[in-house]
């Protein structure tokens, strides 16, 4: 079974490039050049130097002793929350800005939900002196104000997406519309493993640094490169793609992808795509999507603005369809409680996205001998207002 992309951009029956002709030249140029550029020695050197000195890589693989005692397994946290800007998103934006530079593009557009990808894009644009326009749903702008301010301080223009559900899905539509209107000088930095080929593969490769480091670090700490489990949350799925990348063909490593069940899978307020979705096409690729019987995309819900996307990347649809990864769904309440648990046991306040991955361990039949790697994709500062305002609601039993 092959879990990586084929020459037409498909993972099994998912993926491809379902784009209007207006975007064909841009996407084709990227498809023709991304691997060549990523393999150039000068690119690798520049990228690796910045990952080390600017991002702060390698991020630690931390043995969480008290969390391990709680879940009765050997739990390691991959500390992507310690990356510059507070999440794994910077790995990808840094890679793509270097790519954009080599493609001669100086105007950068991006979409963002929780704001982490927007902040990471604004950051690398500031670093390179490029123009940066970030599309963000009007509702997300309201609930993620600190990140909006961070983007502005970094010199980005934040444009509210006012159509549809006014969240990440619509911010993505607006970014694509911008790209259609500005095809020559603009590069679109997509923040997850979604979008037309080659985006899912390109983003996965930039995030693959996560599992590359985990292998080396785990070998050093345990004598084996392979854990029993790798766990990561999935909205679009970029941190999961990165955490899984070097383990895709290691059959004895169980891959666990954790989706947001929101208020419950069948509540009508959920983002659990593999439980609720059907194959379809959105934002340029064929993948599992939450949609009505008539093929209209439905709004997703999660307490975490980073997970409320009505689809998942095509690689994850393929991992689901083939059974290579196990998919679990965690409710808002379970995620909230897990965030408090990790904070109190380990002194680490996680992003609400990552809390879903932490919470999932209660649903796995972990054995005391199991080695578990959880990708802690981001830190919780951005969610502090949610933690403050919804404490009463979620912590009562």
């Amino acid at each position: 079974m092959n879990f990586t992309v084929d020459e037409n951009g498909f993972y099994g029956s998912f993926g491809g490039a379902y784009i209007p002709e207006m975007l064909f030249p841009n996407v084709e140029e990227l498809k023709d050049k991304y691997l060549k550029i990523m393999n150039e020695e000068s690119f690798i050197t520049e990228y690796n130097n910045l990952l080390k000195d600017y991002v702060g890589r390698p991020t630690p693989l931390y043995f969480a002793k008290r969390l391990s005692e709680h879940f009765k397994a050997n739990i390691y946290l991959k500390r992507e929350d310690l990356c510059h800007t507070g999440a794994h998103k910077i790995n990808n934006t840094l890679g793509q800005i270097l790519l954009a530079k080599r493609l001669g593009k100086r105007r950068i557009i991006a979409e963002t939900g929780a704001g982490q990808h927007g902040v990471a894009t604004a950051t690398v644009c500031a670093l390179m002196g490029f123009d940066c326009i970030v599309y963000m749903g009007e509702i997300d702008m309201e609930r993620q104000k600190p990140n909006v301010e961070r983007m502005k301080m970094l010199g980005a223009t934040v444009v509210p997406a006012t159509s549809g559900s006014k969240t990440l899905k619509d911010a993505t539509n607006e970014a694509i519309r911008d790209w259609i209107n500005n095809p020559s000088d603009t590069h679109y930095i997509i923040g997850s493993v979604v979008g037309p080929h080659p985006y899912p593969d390109m983003v996965a490769r930039f995030q693959a640094i996560i599992s590359k480091e985990v292998r080396a670090q785990l070998k050093e700490k345990t004598g084996s490169e392979n854990p029993d489990y790798v766990i990561a949350c999935v909205g679009g799925g970029s941190n999961a793609a990165g955490a899984f990348f070097h383990y895709l063909n290691e059959k004895d490593v169980k891959l666990v992808a954790v989706e947001a069940a929101g208020m419950g899978i069948d509540s009508g307020y959920s983002a659990a795509t593999t439980f609720l979705g059907k194959p379809g096409v959105l934002h340029g690729s064929k993948t599992l999507l939450m949609q009505t019987a008539d093929g209209q995309i439905v709004e997703a819900h999660s307490i975490s603005a980073g997970l409320d996307y009505p689809g998942i990347g095509p690689i994850h649809s393929h991992l689901f369809e083939t059974g290579r990864a196990e998919f679990l769904a965690i409710t808002d309440k379970e995620a909230f409680k897990a965030a408090v648990l990790l904070s109190k046991l380990e002194g680490i306040i996680p992003a609400l996205e990552s809390s879903h991955a932490i919470a999932s361990m209660a649903k796995l039949n972990l054995k005391p001998s199991d080695t578990v790697v959880v990708n802690l994709s981001g830190r919780g500062d951005k969610d502090l207002m949610t933690y403050i305002t919804r404490k009463e609601e979620f912590l009562k039993d």
Binding site: Y18, E21, S163, K169, I176, R177, N181, D294, I297
Partner: protein
């Protein structure tokens, strides 16, 4: 060897029979009100439009600007679906003789089932389909045969950045006409198509087997006249949708709008 069957329908006939510039009007099904689809279609035929594109509303129409986006949103709120649309136009051929195309995005069509969609479209008398996010490669591999079996034209878009090689590939697989997007934009933009003379001339000189229709940013008499210097006809969408928004008398307003174009 070219094994493709040449699709012959009202659309291909319209191009071979008409010498004057053809006017194609886009409107969204179920807009302004759910049951306006057939009345709008009828009024357009009465106003002597040469062909129409009925938009199948989608929640995420990424090639469209605000006017068509909004009309799609309202149409969906009104309850419009592909099934509902076929129901509304099932008897249209008793009175509508101009070519009728469907325009929309691939996801609702996939949910409906592409084979059933083509069969049902053909059964109600649809002549062709425009799906901007259905790429040529996927069409060729998976859908071309189904379209041809149902005598449906598939209309592809080209843009100022479409390479000559790709233009040829598209021309080889298009039937009906080629939809030339006038400028790099979503629908309903205000870019001036008069600056596109070089691109239009290049297209006109490309010796394509399919006729050309120019769309996007065609909005009035002047832009229609300019575009049709270089193509068999032109397509007006957003400006028309805007014109019928809030209309108290669709028949009259549609007639006035079309008379203002030519």
């Amino acid at each position: 060897m070219d094994t493709k069957i040449q699709v012959k329908n009202r659309l291909t006939a319209a191009f071979s029979e008409n010498q004057k510039p053809l006017l194609n009007i886009y409107f969204t099904a179920g807009y302004p009100a759910l049951n306006d689809t057939l009345p709008v279609l009828r009024a357009l035929q009465n106003a002597c439009v040469d062909m129409v594109e009925i938009g199948m509303p989608f929640s995420d129409p990424l090639a469209d600007g605000p006017v068509i986006q909004r009309s799609s949103e309202i149409a969906l709120e009104n309850g419009m679906t592909i099934k509902g649309l076929f129901e509304q136009i099932k008897d249209m051929r008793k009175e509508i003789h101009i070519p009728v195309l469907l325009m929309g995005y691939i996801n609702p069509v996939l949910r409906y089932g592409i084979e059933k969609f083509c069969e049902d479209a053909a059964a109600v008398g649809i002549d062709g389909v425009i799906i901007p996010d259905l790429p040529v490669r996927e069409y060729m591999e998976d859908y071309e045969e189904i379209f041809q079996k149902n005598n449906l034209s598939n209309i592809f878009l080209v843009t100022p950045h479409t390479s000559p090689e790709r233009l040829k590939l598209i021309d080889d697989h298009a039937t009906g006409f080629i939809y030339a997007v006038s400028t790099d934009s979503t629908t309903g933009n205000t870019k001036d198509i008069k600056q596109q003379e070089e691109y239009f001339s290049r297209l006109k000189g490309s010796k394509l087997k399919n006729p050309l229709m120019i769309g996007f940013n065609v909005r009035d008499k002047e832009s229609f006249a300019f575009a049709t210097n270089y193509a068999k006809g032109a397509i007006i969408g957003s400006a028309f949708v805007k014109a019928i928004t809030g209309s108290k008398n669709l028949e009259k307003d549609i007639d006035v709008f079309i008379k203002g174009i030519r």
